[in-house]
Symmetry: C2
Subunit: 497 residues, 2 copies
Amino acid sequence: MLTEKISASVKERILLPELLDIVMSAEEAASMIKSGMTICTSGFGTGYPKAIPTALAESKHAKNLTLVNGAARGESHLGAMSHAGILKNFFGFLYNEGARNEVNAGSFEFSDLHLGQLISKIKNGVYGKVEYAIIECCKIKEDGSIVPTLSAGTAEAIAEVAEKILLEVNLSIPAEVEGFHDFGIDPFAIIKSPADRLGVPYIKVDTSKIAGIVITDIPDTDLFYPEIAPIYNQIAEQVVSLLDKEISEGRLPEQFTFQSGMGVVANCVMLGLMNKGYKGLKMYTEVLSDQALYAIKEGIISEATTTTLDITPLFFDDVFDNLEFYKKRLVLRPLNITNGATQIISNELVSMNTAWEVDIYGNVNSSHAMGTQMINGLGGSNDYSRNSKISIFTTPSTAKRGLISCIVPMVPHVDSTEHDVDVIATEWGYADLRGKSPKERAMTIIDNCAHPDYRAALHEYFDNAVSLCGPCQTPHDLSKALSWHQKFLETGSMKQD
Amino acid sequence: MLTEKISASVKERILLPELLDIVMSAEEAASMIKSGMTICTSGFGTGYPKAIPTALAESKHAKNLTLVNGAARGESHLGAMSHAGILKNFFGFLYNEGARNEVNAGSFEFSDLHLGQLISKIKNGVYGKVEYAIIECCKIKEDGSIVPTLSAGTAEAIAEVAEKILLEVNLSIPAEVEGFHDFGIDPFAIIKSPADRLGVPYIKVDTSKIAGIVITDIPDTDLFYPEIAPIYNQIAEQVVSLLDKEISEGRLPEQFTFQSGMGVVANCVMLGLMNKGYKGLKMYTEVLSDQALYAIKEGIISEATTTTLDITPLFFDDVFDNLEFYKKRLVLRPLNITNGATQIISNELVSMNTAWEVDIYGNVNSSHAMGTQMINGLGGSNDYSRNSKISIFTTPSTAKRGLISCIVPMVPHVDSTEHDVDVIATEWGYADLRGKSPKERAMTIIDNCAHPDYRAALHEYFDNAVSLCGPCQTPHDLSKALSWHQKFLETGSMKQD
């Protein structure tokens, strides 16, 4: 594409004139990527490049690619590339259904990891030499600095590490998003207040590495929240009652700082806090949802740090209509800052994450159905549970219409160990595990959290284990520890006779 | 005891005259402690109070005590109190054989934890109100500040939190130990060089809280290292060959910073580094052993941070004979600093810890024999493995004369998850797990680390799991995942037919 053909609207987005010479089609940009290369992409839920990955998936000229992305959901990104069969490896959080099925069919290799370590692993060369970073942005400034779209994620790090950079300038995101981000921060900076800005709102880049620029106008339209079943409000009520107690007993300030994982429980907790009259809370989190934006508007949350706005199309418009309001209260920071141990510990976070299942001793499985099938990955859940002041995991007490108990004798996969979990909450109650031994934990988890249909069987498992190995540190009957899962695999139900 | 009866040698140790009035017998001090109280004691391996715990154990007037200690080994401390049956709970690292047996018999409750979080848990009230801190020291300064003996551990925090303080002034430790410690540090301080001092070498205390002082001269004589079997040198050779490779490929500086857990493998690695001509390494660790002191003398280690000198009686003398030499090269810091995430991450540590067993996907069990019996606890192993640049776990490939494989299909207890483990080394080789998917990890762990007697059976387990659930993310046959342990419990051997 020649400079003179470029529209005025594009020239408003690319303010360094020499870069107008390398505006090109997605196919041209994609053609630079060769088989076996490692590519790192921007985006965390939202903000991923769309045109170049789609072109790669369509042409299939480059195979055996290693893809690294903070949290990949997009159909036009991980979805298209995994379906095309051009991936050898994926590193990051995997929440695209098609890609998950490909992983569980062994089509490509997936290595799950603590997202808070993704940037250091990229920089330490764990994923090899990074040939290309592909970054979606809404503006390139006069000096070539990049303003990403509505996530921060790994964008700054991959721009630094990659040999070459491809940019997608997305015209569907207003250039006035500039001012949301906070880059160039010391990884050990203490962030005293989530909306304090420490760095600059753009990514400085070596412009000689920019190999091509593609203009797009494809919105992020992948995210939809399911309808809220009553059970999620019941779980949220348990969490709110715990928080009330912590505050009334002086262990938590009234305007505490919290992290909240994705999903309906998180949203219900926010609703619950709202209904209880909480005001001026601070949020320090990896992903910020529709509900959190609403809570900011209502003053329940006074300020927030996140690495992404993982919101539905409706709320994109809300953000664009109220940019200056949100910029004062909301900062998008790199993933190693939002998920950084220093920042999480120093902010004394209350963390709330979703468990897939938990065992009677408090070990949490966040990632593997029946211990074998990848769901999405553990994401940042352990970054927060490992480092927060109060680490809460929530789960419904059962799944599959009661045929699966989410409280089991032993989890067949551990993502957060017994040492990382302070509280477990289900719709029946919560178990406060702090300062309890494994045997004490078993009693409170079974009696407070398990579904009544499974409590007797869990007690029977425990009692039988004690009779086998004595009242030892962690009683187990290894011949039956995984039998509930095995029974489900064989009969479709964990129900014990 | 009246002031005039106090010997000159005691007056040299207690420089605030009013405190001479509360010098008393161990029995008198112990009598202040009542049933149901929470007591926190100084010491981490070495440096624990001896006279008051022994008096408590002998009188048994106070029962149902909650004891909190960083790492409790002493026979005259945790040993005596657990044997006397006066404990309700113990929180900390448990490495006293008698106490371990009591825990596994259910005599008192033990809650294992990440030692890096012990201080924040004490301060957050997880163990309830702390009635007494009992601290061993070698000197009380003019303003009442305390100079502990040869550990830092939790001493500063418990002196701050406790309602009352009892001191044991140990005359067997010279007062000239003053200058070893570094207290009063910001918990998020970046420690650029392990021997840099940031704080003060004594603990400031509210002297009105000091309720009694006991004079002792009981040395720390509990620690002995077992003889080194050749296998440990073979494991150490594997670790050293990995480190050589990391340096030659530019991923590690020649003078890297490392952490090393306790035990013979750690000592052999240090010998191995010495024999390879390494010089000027930095150590940032929780415990520092005889061998590390020797390495400091030889210049292999140029400087070190640790929370304790966990050394044998022979090396106590060496330290006392060379106090000024060691003070320049060695700093004793609080446990939340030596095990702090900020400090571990910013120092880009190579961590080396001992696994009890590992599974084919890289999950590590550090604490539970057969998933049920407590060994010692996980200690700080996960503080380091979770936050270091390269996290190495070592284990012999077998135990019990080959009847136990330390590489198993699934560990029945997880202390460091697959996400926290970069390298596993046995006497047969090492498996570099970085950037590998679970299926890829299984191949390298079995082929490089398992004992040849068990490799075929591990491959068979894996192949059978794949045939059952397909080439999914983490293939397992849940009906057999724990069958090796079950077989050992039933037959005394894991050997597969």
